[in-house]
Symmetry: C2
Subunit: 425 residues, 2 copies
Amino acid sequence: MPTLSSMTKEQLTAKLSRLKAIYQDYKSKNLSLDMSRGKPCTEQLELTMELADCVNARTGAVSAKGIDTRNYGFVDGIAEMKSLFGEILGLPSDNVIVGGNSSLNLMFDYVAQAYATGICGNTPWCRLPEIKFLCPVPGYDRHFAVTEHFGISMICVPMTDDGPDMDLVEELVKDPAVKGMWCVPMYSNPDGITYSDETVRRLARLHPAAKDFRILWDNAYCVHHLTDTPDTLLNLYEESKAAGNEDIAIYFTSTSKISFPGSGVAAVGGSAANIADITKRLSVQTIGYDKQNMLRHARFFKDMDAVTNHMKLHAAILRPKFDIVLTTLQNEIGDLNIADWHTPNGGYFVSVSLMEGCAKAVVNMLKEAGVALTGAGATYPYGNDPKDSNLRIAPTYPPCDELQIAMNLFCVCVQIVSIEKLLQQ
Amino acid sequence: MPTLSSMTKEQLTAKLSRLKAIYQDYKSKNLSLDMSRGKPCTEQLELTMELADCVNARTGAVSAKGIDTRNYGFVDGIAEMKSLFGEILGLPSDNVIVGGNSSLNLMFDYVAQAYATGICGNTPWCRLPEIKFLCPVPGYDRHFAVTEHFGISMICVPMTDDGPDMDLVEELVKDPAVKGMWCVPMYSNPDGITYSDETVRRLARLHPAAKDFRILWDNAYCVHHLTDTPDTLLNLYEESKAAGNEDIAIYFTSTSKISFPGSGVAAVGGSAANIADITKRLSVQTIGYDKQNMLRHARFFKDMDAVTNHMKLHAAILRPKFDIVLTTLQNEIGDLNIADWHTPNGGYFVSVSLMEGCAKAVVNMLKEAGVALTGAGATYPYGNDPKDSNLRIAPTYPPCDELQIAMNLFCVCVQIVSIEKLLQQ
């Protein structure tokens, strides 16, 4: 197949006309398909249904250390979940606080704490004229929404195949107004990139001008492998500790995509100083998170091996879906030189880079034909992708047959929009 | 029995000596008893154990309106719990957001929102030189901890038998720096007082200088009756709406003392404008609270009648405990004119007012003998009871036999400290 840019105007016009007829056919089908959010599908949710029976009248609700999980108290969670999350995050269990059902909530609350009352005795961010955050792009829209909510200025840092551009990061943190950085270090949202060892080492040794600069290390996909050759991520906590810099990062994860998105368990971790700082606020904010749900999870998952095995069940459901996305992209537009994408070894997304100025138009065409995609620009701060190029495909939720139709249509739309772009030039 | 103040010095000295011998006896028993926190006891927790079986592989996890409660989304909660909390709080279900396991957390987050980003478009409190809150006293220590955390100045408003002193409240809200007021309107913590109709009506018609003044209406004990002649509370929402003043209050409650303290469901309610304002923040803070736990509760409790009946089971467990406290107080120190207390029709506490300057000493004596009581002063902002007089007894957690011992000792200590006080005068 020739690349589009090597075709004549007449060839492009003829191809466009054929593609538009195909698009109209799809449109007449009144589709209603959704590739917009990283939601597990029903089959995945079924994997964990026995969790419900792990705490009830027969089993009792007493934790390994004798805590009645039904009652008040223990703001840092029960020991067995601290320990499991410690293994997942690569932190000592004492350095982990087990939260509610949402790691996003823990992140929001941490930024809120920094804003309202300050981090580890530093000036609250609300008392400073400007606060800036580094945002690797493309990135996660809900991260950007949190920083925007608090009026924090977001500075884009381009992602490379090794993670965020570290030369730029090291330069930018010389500005004392730069107080934080969002990171999804493993199977990044949306690119599926895992930070290289060198990137993690440079982050571990980062010495920002601001003493209260924190990397918000959202390790959402750390056990979410899709292949038998998973990526590996260097342990930032160990590296930063070895560099005498262990306060640099706050660690987040959850079981949202291990057990249940709406009723999993989340965790926040960090150095002793950071954990003490968070605990001080948390002890005012709540008497304790849901320990019964922690106990359900601890009993169901038991240990890290069980988690790893459970994630293989998820992968078995998800791999065919990722295959549909990647195979369709390759077969339909792989040789046209109009789009690039990564082939992730894990995570929840395939991120596609189109020719400049094409992303919004593709999303609109798909929407008109009944296919929901994450909004163009959503992967950039303020919803503003300066090149209007990046799209995030979330293949996990729709059934395979629907996903195949949606991807076929996606490739039709990408071609139509790209050809129209080329014809305008 | 003569009052202590009518006794001669010699009589007092002789009595003191007898009491001290009794105290030493108790001390030698190495007791370890706890009347410090409003924690349900194990028998109460057993009442709700079938809740665990309300959502599992057999029942499925789909809500009445077809929502898969396991997955993401629905930041305001599921319809059946919005409706049940609407009935509990006396609000339309559209005016209710169902939260996580902690109403304290919802209150903290609301104050945090007001502080960081402002209420309904008003100036964030962090941008103002001083913020003040009205705190009916004695009150709930965790409320005071939240306001103190954000550096909010707390102004004490004395409780009367009808609720907070409304003449004073109406005067104080003329100050535009006064932005809020804590209220536990039914079976107040710690006095067990329910606000009179007139108090509720005056609160409903309150027109503070600050447009973003809010009553934080913590209706924690609204269905927590202990007797067959429960108190009744006028509906503040209806009253304020009728007065065209429905933005004045934010409503909170939870099932913490209906189902499980650590893994119940909490709710926040308010006017349409207030709910929209909270939802705007909440949509950034989380993708949704634990809907499976909501569904468990909705299926277990079904409707308001079921809640009412369930609370009778709690009352049957708690009434003998309150009887021990009240009967012992009456029998041991009722005629001595050294202490006053209310006889609550519900709630979790008995609040005792001692002679000035006696509360700390009593707590210390009890502690030395192995009985934990809520710290003296805890019922006042900054832990500072200016008269050092109020003590909060929490009778729910200890078994009856332990409670009886603890109350006997309590009365011994109160007499010792009071006599020592009288002898010093």
